[in-house]
Amino acid sequence: MNSAVFEIGKFARLTLLWLCIIFGAVWGVSWSIGVLLPAVILSQSGESGRFWAQLLQALVPVVAVALFVPLNTCYMVLAERRLLALFTVRKGPNRVGPDGAFQTVADALKLLLKEEITPRGADLLMYTLAPVIFFAPSIIGVMPLLAAVSGNHPLFTPVNLPTGVFYILAVSSIPVVGVVMGGWASNNKYSLVGALRSAAQAISYEIPLLLSIITVCLLAGTLDFVQIADNQRGSLLNWNILGGGALTHLGIGSPWWSIAAALLLAACCILLFALYVICACAEVNRTPFDLPEAESELVSGFNTEYSGIKFAIFFLAEYTNLFIVSTFAAVMFLGGGHAPFPGLEDACISGLRGLLAAWFGACTPFQLGWLVNSLVNPATVSQVFWIIVKSYALVWFASLIRATLPRLRIDQLMDYSWKRLVPLALILLIAVTFLKELV
């Protein structure tokens, strides 16, 4: 038992280390580009520097995403391997760095240095374009999430779209084009079969996914991430997974049908969440729906022929998609950046404020107070903290699913989507519409 606690502790330490690396680096860079440098420029050159300052501030989301995606993938791959090791009673990577903390960095370096091979008879243009098309949407897709993640921080407000949800859904349907393209252009039967499977799977599971998201949007009454997250402020009962506040509206004197409707609505929303998790797993090709790259049947599916940096890009995009899907779920269902209990959030913020005062109180003689305040805003940090906890919890849950469930057969997969999930999603859509009015 001690040993087990030891292993879990090692995983926790690793996670802490990597999260510090990722979010420290991202936040530090975006802060220095978005706040520090513009301030310096404006103080140096006055009005004429305004253009440069604005340009730098506009660049912040791009730089943040470009930094975040590879670092995050490094952590997610490592975490997944360690978690799988934990679940299957093994040790996992433990050679590079302390407890194997930098194993994925070494792997990434290896992939970058490897030779790229193009199979004979491949359609060179499509073959090269496929990883790019697969990868680009994941970069574009992270952007509007930034505003939701950072609680609409002024640096990331420009990327907050009024139709953010629809935008993500549209963008996340693009990668399948890259998969089909790559699978076809590889001039390999396994790749082609993997690509066709992937296309069929993506089109089938897109429908229940869209329906479940539409239902949540209906419940929330908006397509804006920040607003959806804000609507779930308060406590666990306000989260969309429990009916988006239907339960809190009930009083002692509310009629019985209102209570019943609220309870039913909560049940429907839990089902919706389960539906979303299933469809999202299928959308990002995770087990048990990883038929496009089923390694025991199709070698490695659509990316059989890819090597070196192109394979690395496929890999990067896959894990980034998983992260996007998890963050999306955290914002849509699990209350975004709000703590599960009302007191907890305030406690977080005040605790952080106290910590800051204790640490940087000594700095005030150097007039660094405003810099520190703009660097670490306790409200934002608490928001980011909660959303990170929720998203990574979902990522870990995906690892648990991967460790447990076997792969489906292709006909089972299609049956499951068209005969079970689509009707369920439609029923839930109608049910939620009516129940929302009844509450």
Binding site: S48, F51, W52, D123, M126, L161, P162, T163, F166, Y167, L169, A170, V171, S173, I174, V176, V177, V180, M181, W184, L192, L196, A199, A200, I203, L223
Partner: protein
């Protein structure tokens, strides 16, 4: 300082116009590729590119909802279906062929040039476009506008569209399920048998 002035000057150039020409310069070669590429599957992928650039044009025209649905429905849905249909119908067999029917080339070029010339000349001669110059800032979000229209004034066409889609879906299923009746029944039975064993 001089470079700075240049940059501010650049910032004042009509960005919309620049983007438009860039998108047009991408869309036209891709459209040619769709028509002329010898490999049909590749022209299917090029079609995705055309649709993506058209979605870009919609964004330029501030039709975000339409641009996104263009990507979602056209760019991915329809084109993938086309590509899969191509892969199902032995495309290799047609790869080496000249994509064009030589007999029709002259006629087709004449007709297409004629169509373009007619449209262009009519555009050029038109003087009285009923343009309206509301400032785009005061407009309601267009997704809201579209939703309002679809649910009120255009509700009936909307319903008709859904019926059309349903009919098309059923028709497509019937058309592509072209096996003889006895064979199809046998297949069903086999499937049921498989299902039964699975449940046990």
């Amino acid at each position: 300082m001089e470079s700075l002035n240049l940059l501010t000057a650049l910032a004042h150039v009509n960005v919309e116009q620049g983007f438009f020409y860039v998108l047009a310069a991408i869309a036209i070669p891709l459209a040619y590729g769709v028509v002329f590429d010898r490999n049909v599957i590749r022209s299917g992928f090029l079609l995705i590119g055309v649709f993506a650039t058209i979605a870009g044009l919609f964004f330029l025209l501030q039709a975000q909802f339409l641009g996104l649905s263009q990507i979602l429905i056209y760019g991915v849905g329809i084109t993938l279906v086309i590509v899969i249909a191509l892969m199902l119908t032995n495309a290799r067999q047609e790869t080496g062929m000249n994509p064009a029917l030589p007999a029709n080339v002259g006629l087709a070029s004449f007709v297409s040039v004629l169509v373009f010339t007619t449209i262009y000349l009519s555009l050029r001669s038109a003087e009285d476009w009923p343009l309206k110059n509301e400032s785009s800032l005061s407009l309601p979000p267009n997704i809201e506008m579209i939703g309002k229209h679809l649910m009120t004034y255009y509700a009936l066409p909307f319903e008709f569209a859904s019926i059309l889609l349903l009919a098309a879906l059923v028709g497509a299923v019937m058309l592509s399920k072209a096996e003889p009746a006895s064979l199809a029944n046998a297949g069903d039975e086999a499937e049921q048998a498989v299902d039964g064993t699975d449940r046990v």
